[in-house]
C-alpha cells in the first residue's frame, strides 16, 4: 500500500449556483486512489459523491464550478488544465461509466461506431483498426455474438448489455482510472452481480484503479478495497473496507449500515396467531399481451401474468419478488384492475370481483389501494397535499371539509406535520412524498394495500423509515399488504411470505424464512446468490453476525 497514488484529490470544493440550498456541493473533500485499487465513495443522494467524480472528470453540470482544491493525476493538476488538456485526459487516462445504461448511449448510432469513436477522439488507429478493436472489446466484456452486436443499435440490447458496452468504451484506451458512477443501480440483481464481476475481472487484468460511486453498502462489501463515506458534501469517514464496514466510527456510517435491510424479518409475527381471515383470494389470474404482427411477421405473445394463484390473510404481508419483466408489477396492476386480466378470479372478502360492472367495481376498489414507486411522478404537482389525500373520499361522496380534516389526521399518522395539508408536493422530499402516497392509499380505509416498489427510489436510511412506517401501520390497522419489490433484502425484512415470479409465473411461494433459507427453485437460488454483500464471511456478514 506504499505505492504512489494514481489520483489524489485534496481539499476539493465545488461551488453551487446562487440560490441553491447550500453554498458548496462538496467541501474539503480529500481522497486518493492507488493503482489497481477500488475506492468506493458511498453516500446518499445529495452527499456530493457524484459531484466529486464529475469534478475530477471536468464534467461538472452548468452553474457549478471547482472553487478550490487540487486533483493530481500522474503529477498533473486536473483542475488547472484547459479544455483541450482535459479532453486528452478523458477517455484516455480516465474512463467513466454512468448509472443509466438505457440513456447513456446515443440511440441513433451503432454500438460499434460508438466504441470506435473513443479512438477517433484521440486520433488513434485507422478506421479498420478501430472496428477491429471495437470487436475485440465487445468480446472482452462478454457481449454475446459480438460480430452481430457491433452492428446493433442500443435499443436492441438489454440494460446489462448496454452497461457492458459502456464498460468497453470506458476501458478502450486502457485508462489508469475508471470512474463508475452507480453503474449497477439501475440493473436487476443478477445482472448487477455479473457487471460487478466483470469490472473486477477487467480491473485485475489491466491493473486499472476504480473509483466506484454507490449508495449500496452491499456493493461496497463486494467490491471495495477502501471506502470514503460522504454526507452533505463532506467526507465523514475513510478507511479500508473491512475497517469501515466492520467497525464504523462515525454515527452516520453506523446509521447507514444499520439501515441496510438485513434479510431477516424485523417484525415478529403476532404472538397469538388468530384464525386466518382471508381478505384476498386470487386464482388462475392471467394477462397476456399480444404484439400485433403484420402480414409477414408473426404476432408475439408475452405472458405478463400466467395463472397466478395465492391468498392473503388480514394482517399478512406477501412479498412479490422478481427481476424486471417478471410480471410482478403487472400482477399488482391486474389486482387493482388498472389493467384488465383476461382470466382468473379475484375474491375480496369472499366476493368475486371479476366480471363486474364499473359501478360495482367502485364498491370494492376502495378496499384495495396502491402505493406507487415514483414519489415524484405519482402526486399531482398542482394539487395541495390535503386535496391529494382527500381526493378518494371526496369522490366517494364524503363532504370536502370532513375529508380534508381526515386527511390531516392521516398525514399525522404517517409522520408528517399537520401543515402539510396546505402545501404542494414539490415542497417535500422523496421519503416524505412516499408518506403522502401512503396516506392517500389509507384515506379510503382499505383492507389491502399494494405497494409497487414503494421504497425503491429512496435512500437506504429513508427506506428503512418508510418500511418501519408500513410495518407499523399494518399492525395498527390490521391491513393485508402486498409488497412488490426487486430487492430481496427489503422483501425479507418486511414480509411474512414471499412469491418469486419469473416470466409471469410464481415459481416459488412460502414463508420468508423457508424461501430464502432453503430455496427450492433454481431461479430463487440464483436471485439470492446475486445479492451484493451477502457472503457471511465478508465484512458485512460479520457485522450482521455481531449484531444478531
Amino acid at each position: 500500500m506504499s505505492e504512489e497514488a494514481i489520483l489524489s484529490v485534496e481539499n476539493l470544493a465545488v461551488e453551487l449556483p446562487a440560490g441553491a440550498d447550500r453554498l458548496f456541493a462538496v467541501e474539503g473533500v480529500s481522497f486518493e486512489i492507488r493503482p489497481g485499487e477500488t475506492l468506493a465513495i458511498v453516500g446518499e443522494s445529495g452527499s456530493g459523491k457524484s459531484m466529486s467524480a464529475n469534478a475530477v472528470m471536468g464534467l461538472l453540470p452548468p452553474g457549478t464550478r471547482v472553487a478550490q482544491g487540487i486533483a493530481k493525476l500522474d503529477g498533473v493538476d486536473l483542475f488547472h488544465l484547459d479544455e483541450a488538456g482535459m479532453r486528452a485526459i478523458r477517455g484516455r487516462r480516465i474512463g467513466m461509466i454512468f448509472q443509466e445504461p438505457m440513456t447513456a448511449l446515443d440511440p441513433l448510432m451503432r454500438v460499434g461506431e460508438q466504441i470506435a469513436e473513443v479512438f477517433e477522439a484521440h486520433g488513434l488507429l485507422t478506421p479498420a483498426e478501430r472496428r477491429a478493436r471495437a470487436l475485440a472489446l465487445l468480446t472482452e466484456v462478454g457481449i454475446p455474438e459480438p460480430e452481430r452486436a457491433i452492428h446493433a443499435y442500443p435499443f436492441q440490447l438489454s440494460g446489462g448489455q448496454r452497461q457492458r458496452v459502456m464498460i468497453a468504451m470506458a476501458l478502450a484506451l486502457d485508462p489508469v482510472l475508471l470512474i463508475a458512477d452507480e453503474p449497477t443501480t439501475a440493473l436487476d440483481v443478477t445482472t448487477q452481480a455479473q457487471i460487478l464481476k466483470l469490472i473486477k475481472e477487467l480491473q485485475r487484468k489491466h491493473g486499472t484503479a476504480v473509483m466506484f460511486i454507490t449508495h449500496d453498502f452491499g456493493v461496497v462489501a463486494d467490491i471495495a478495497d477502501r471506502v470514503v463515506v460522504m454526507r452533505q458534501g463532506k467526507v465523514v469517514e475513510t478507511g479500508t473496507a473491512a475497517a469501515v464496514l466492520g467497525d464504523p466510527q462515525h454515527d452516520y456510517t453506523k446509521a447507514l449500515i444499520a439501515a441496510i435491510p438485513t434479510g431477516h424479518p424485523e417484525v415478529a409475527p403476532p404472538a397469538t396467531p388468530r384464525a386466518r381471515e382471508i381478505v384476498l383470494e386470487v386464482a388462475g389470474l392471467t394477462k397476456t399481451y399480444t404484439t400485433s404482427g403484420g402480414f409477414m411477421r408473426p404476432a408475439r405473445v408475452v405472458h405478463a401474468v400466467k395463472s397466478v394463484s395465492f391468498d392473503l390473510a388480514r394482517g399478512e404481508t406477501l412479498g412479490v419478488v422478481g427481476e424486471s419483466g417478471s410480471g410482478k408489477s403487472s400482477l399488482g396492476r391486474c389486482l387493482v384492475r388498472l389493467i384488465e386480466p383476461e382470466a382468473g378470479s379475484i375474491k375480496i372478502e369472499g366476493a368475486e370481483t371479476m366480471g363486474q360492472s364499473i359501478g360495482q367495481m367502485r364498491q370494492w376498489r376502495r378496499r384495495m389501494q396502491m402505493v406507487f414507486q415514483d414519489p415524484y411522478g405519482s402526486l399531482n404537482p398542482r394539487s395541495r397535499v390535503g386535496r391529494i389525500v382527500a381526493e378518494g373520499p371526496i369522490a366517494a361522496g364524503v363532504p370536502v371539509k370532513t375529508a380534508i380534516a381526515k386527511a390531516a389526521d392521516l398525514l399525522a399518522m404517517v409522520g408528517l406535520d399537520a401543515s402539510a395539508v396546505d402545501r404542494f408536493p414539490h415542497e417535500f422530499s422523496g421519503g416524505q412524498r412516499q408518506r403522502i402516497g401512503i396516506a392517500r392509499a389509507l384515506a379510503l380505509d382499505p383492507r389491502i394495500i399494494i405497494a409497487d416498489e414503494a421504497v425503491s427510489a429512496l435512500d437506504v436510511s429513508i427506506q428503512a423509515q418508510v418500511l418501519r412506517l408500513l410495518a407499523d401501520l399494518k399492525a395498527r390497522l390490521d391491513l393485508a399488504l402486498i409488497f412488490i419489490t426487486h430487492d430481496l433484502r427489503v422483501a425479507a425484512t418486511i414480509c411474512d411470505k414471499v412469491a418469486v415470479m419469473q416470466r409471469g409465473e410464481i415459481v416459488e411461494m412460502g414463508p420468508v424464512g423457508q424461501v430464502f433459507g432453503d430455496p427450492q427453485h433454481d431461479y430463487t437460488r440464483r436471485l439470492i446468490a446475486a445479492i451484493p454483500g451477502r457472503s457471511e464471511s465478508g465484512p458485512l456478514g460479520r457485522v450482521r453476525a455481531a449484531g444478531a
Binding site: 440511440p107 435499443f155 459502456m166 403484420g294 402480414f295 409477414m296
Partner: protein, 325 residues
Amino acid sequence: MQTLWFLSSRLVKGILVVLAIVVLDFFLIHFAPGDPAAVMAGESGATDEIFLQQLRVKFGLDQPLMTQLGLYLWGVVRLDLGYSYRQQMPVLDLVMDRLPATLILTGAAFVFSLVIGVAAGAWAAANKDRPLDRAITTISLIFYATPLFWMALMSVLVFSVWLDWLPGFGFEEVGNTDNVFERVLDVSRHLVLPAVTLGLFFTAVYVRMTRSSMIETARMDFVKTARAKGLTEGVILRRHVLRNAVLPVVTLAGLQAGQMVGGAVMTETVFAWPGIGRLMYEALLQRDYNLLLGVFLVSAAMVVVFNILTDWVYRLVDPRIEVAR
C-alpha cells in the same frame, strides 16, 4: 424488402385517404351556393331559366348528386379527372401543366426553410442565451408573425421595384432562348422571391423547434458519455446532439409540407406564379367544379406523398422506428 413492404402498404392507405378526401371535397363544393352554369350564364348576360337548364344538362349537373359522384369517381379511377368547360381542356392536362411550377416553388421553399431553419436553430442553441441566440429567435418570430401576403408584397416592392435585383412576377421571361442553362438561370431568378417568401414563414418554425430540441438533447446522458470519451464540443454537437435533435423537426417538416401547398395558393397569386395554387384560385372564382376537384385531388395526393416520404426519411434517421411500428 421491408422498405418495399412499408412503402406499398403506406401507398394503399394513401390512395384510400385521397379517395375519401375527393368524396368529402365533392360534397363540400356542391353544397356551396352557386354552380358553374349560373356563373357562365351570368357572364353571358342571360338569366333565362331554360338556358341555365340547358347548361346544366350539358355539364351533367341535372343528374342526382350520387350519380354525379359515382361518375366522377369512376373517372378518377381511370385517371380521367373530367373536362373543364371554362378552360376548354381536360382537367388532368391543365393540372399536369401547372404542377411542375408548384413543385419547383414548394420544393425550393421547403429545402430553403429546412436548411436555414435547422442551421439557424442549431446556431442559436449553441449560443444559448447570448445576443446571437436572442437575435435569431426574435427575427424568426417576426417572420412567423408577419402575414404571408404582406411579406410577399413587400419583397416585390423592395427587391423588384426599388432595387430592381430580381423579377417580381412570373415563371420566366417571355420569348426565352432554347439554351437550357440560360433558361434554368432565368427560372431560378424568378423563383427566389416567391420561394424565400413562402419559405421564411416555415423557417421560423424550424428555428424554434431545432433550438429547443437541441437544448433538450444537449442535457441527455449520452452527450455526457460523448464528453467522457474526449470528443470535441464541435463533434459532439454535430454528431450526437444535432442528429438526435433533428428527429422532431423531421416530423414537423412532414406536416408542414402539406401546409406549404396551402401557402402556395397565396404566394402564387401574388407573384403570378403559374402553379396549381393559382389554378385553384381561378377555378374557385369561376365555380369550375371539375377543375377545382382536380386541383384538390392532386394537392391531397401531394400531401399524402409528402407524408409517406417523411415516414420513410424518419425510418432512415431513426433506427428504432422499424421495430416500434
